[in-house]
């Protein structure tokens, strides 16, 4: 990744400008970006847009198929709740968990990796040994255990999933930091008397942005997967809140008689994950034209 202030040439394009251009040429990524924006708007504006509240039951109505005339575009579930409103509400929780938990892992991972990489030596060895140790832990099982033991609390979900995902981030950031450490602009900052933390915050982290952005876009769908997996097992958010995983679970139980209960939440979940993955892939190719080959 191109780092420092080498973009002084008159009329030159910055890294981000050319990356943006490359991203715009990537049709799958551009389409995904717009679709995702649409999803986010729908999910945020859901409560105002939908004619029905997602918790409002109507037992006399029961499970009805999707119809435009009836006012329930995605149909209703066995309790007469509007599936459209529920899908949007579930999507809101899933996206929220995805963003917040990724943010948690981002903060821990960037801090850990940058400090380890910049300090080097024994500090680095110790910090990374800790990461190695945690790597071997069966984390998913611990998260399930946490959910079982402490009850289903949304804050805990954020923290648990976030704490599980920071290891990769720390490793990537450390590697990048080590390659940055001996660059001239860092040396210049040191000579001007900047302290370690200042250098990390002002000079190292901004130069990690490219890698971090790509990694974040690819982490969000992974986190959403974990959350929906937990919800699917009945260990995620608690009623009356709902999430796409929980909706898929309920839908799967009645898929033979009321397939719309499964299809719409499943489409929403898979669609969002597709979008994030395509955008992440696109960003990676755009920011580093050479590394179309960087694997997963």
């Amino acid at each position: 990744m191109n780092g420092g202030g080498e973009n002084i040439t008159v009329g030159g394009r910055s890294l981000w400008q050319s990356a943006g251009e490359r991203l715009r040429r990537n049709k799958a990524a551009t389409f995904s970006l717009w679709l995702l924006i649409l999803f986010v708007v729908l999910v945020v504006a859901g409560p105002w847009l939908a004619q029905h509240d997602y918790t409002q039951t109507n037992l006399s109505l029961g499970s009805t198929a999707p119809s435009l005339a009836g006012g329930h575009w995605f149909g209703t579930d066995a309790l007469g709740r509007d599936v459209l409103a529920r899908t949007l509400a579930g999507g809101r929780i899933s996206l929220l968990v995805g963003l917040v938990a990724t943010l948690v892992s981002l903060l821990i991972g960037v801090f850990w990796g940058a400090v380890a990489g910049y300090c080097g030596g024994r500090v680095d060895a110790l910090m990374m040994r800790f990461v190695d140790l945690l790597y071997a832990m069966p984390f998913m099982f611990f998260v399930i255990l946490l959910m079982v033991v402490f009850g289903r609390n949304i804050l805990l979900i954020f923290a648990a999933i976030g704490a599980m995902n920071w290891l990769d981030m720390a490793r990537i950031v450390r590697g990048q930091t080590i390659s940055l450490r001996h660059r001239e602009f860092i040396l210049a900052a040191t000579l001007m008397g900047a302290g370690t933390l200042t250098i990390i915050a002002r000079h190292v982290i901004p130069n990690l942005l490219g890698v971090v952005v790509v990694y974040v876009t690819l982490t969000i769908p992974q986190v959403m997967l974990v959350e929906s997996f937990l919800s699917y097992l009945g260990l995620g958010v608690q009623e009356p809140l709902t999430s796409t995983g929980a909706l898929v679970n309920q839908g799967a139980l009645e898929m033979e008689t009321a397939p719309w209960l499964l299809v719409f939440p499943a489409l929403f979940l898979a669609g969002t994950l597709f979008c994030f993955n395509f955008i992440g892939d696109g960003l990676r190719d755009a920011l580093d034209p050479k590394s179309d080959e960087d694997g997963r």
Partner: protein, 312 residues
């Protein structure tokens, strides 16, 4: 044989370094459960205090926490995970021994399916970069990564079991019942492996040593087959550790969907029943399995990668 000694020391070193990791796994699971509110016998209402005390004494729950931990640790070291709280008169070790073979069969089938399918797809895609075949295979891989197991599974059941009636919808009887669960379990991992293989092979196709091989008169397929495959597979092999972990977690949900009497399903029911010893046993068992798999992967990697030999 000169290679035995370094392999032996390497294995020994790794086994030794696995000890603190395992201890951490055992300690974390044990104390996590103990600091939690509630207990395994809370669900039985109207329990007279002295009866309750008797039950707790019979499970050594009245001892100081550290002593209980020591007792548990000693048991685990001997492969004894204690009695199940829910399935009375059953030991957790028995439950694991009884149900793990089923999970193992499912997991192994999925593992080889993912490895074989993923590598084949990745190689086929990389050899014709940007062709229709490449795009089709990579779109498939993207779907594998983006469509969760538990979304795909009911859809496949709906299609192949309910409508076409080619395969059973669940249960564990005969070869047919392995197909759908193994496929759904393997697909995301196959997708990751396909992407890794493609990226890795593309990298190697542009390397100098392969050009040299071509210059010496090998055809493209000969050069790829003889010289590119081994280095291509290195990143795939280092992914096999995480892949195993993912397969184990995945099987928790797959076993539930397809009603397979494996260990993963015990984990879920154990968690819901607050059967703490059972849950702890499964976590520790799976944790050791993952650690063991990582050791195998490292050995395999060292064997295949000549650069690691030179260091020793």
């Amino acid at each position: 044989m000169s290679w035995i000694e370094p392999v032996f020391t390497f294995t020994l070193k790794r086994l030794l370094s696995a000890v603190p990791t395992l201890l951490l796994v055992v300690a974390a699971t044990f104390f996590l459960i103990r600091i939690a509110p509630g207990g395994p016998f809370d669900s039985e209402r109207n329990l007279a205090p002295d009866i309750r005390a008797n039950i707790e004494r019979s499970y050594h729950l009245d001892e100081p926490l550290l002593q209980q931990f020591g007792r548990y640790l000693g048991g685990v070291a001997r492969g004894d995970f204690g009695p199940s709280y829910h399935y009375r008169d059953r030991d957790v070790s028995d439950l694991i021994a009884e149900s793990f073979p089923v999970s193992f069969k499912l997991g192994m089938t999925a593992f080889f399916l993912a490895l074989l399918g993923g590598v084949t797809a990745g190689v086929l895609a990389a050899l014709r970069r940007n062709s229709f075949r490449d795009h089709a295979l990579m779109s498939l891989a993207m779907s594998g990564i983006s469509i969760p197991n538990f979304v795909l599974a009911p859809l496949l059941v709906l299609l192949f079991a309910v409508h076409l009636q080619w395969l059973p919808a669940g249960g564990w009887r005969g070869l047919g019942s392995v197909v759908l669960p193994a496929f759904t379990l393997a697909l995301p991992q196959a997708a990751y492996i396909a992407r890794l293989t493609r990226a890795s092979l593309l990298d190697i196709l542009g390397s100098d040593f392969l050009r040299t091989a071509r210059a010496k008169g090998l055809s493209r397929s000969q050069a790829v087959w003889r010289h590119a495959m081994k280095p291509t597979l290195l990143p795939v092999i280092s992914y096999l550790g995480p892949a195993t972990a993912a397969l184990l977690t995945g099987s928790v949900v797959i076993e539930q969907i397809f009603q397979i009497p494996g260990l993963g399903r015990y984990f879920v029911t154990g968690a819901l029943n607050r059967d703490y010893t059972l849950v702890m046993g499964v976590v520790i068992f799976y944790g050791s399995l993952i650690i063991f798999m990582n050791l195998l992967v490292d050995l395999l990697y060292a064997w295949l990668d000549p650069r690691t030999h030179r260091k020793q």
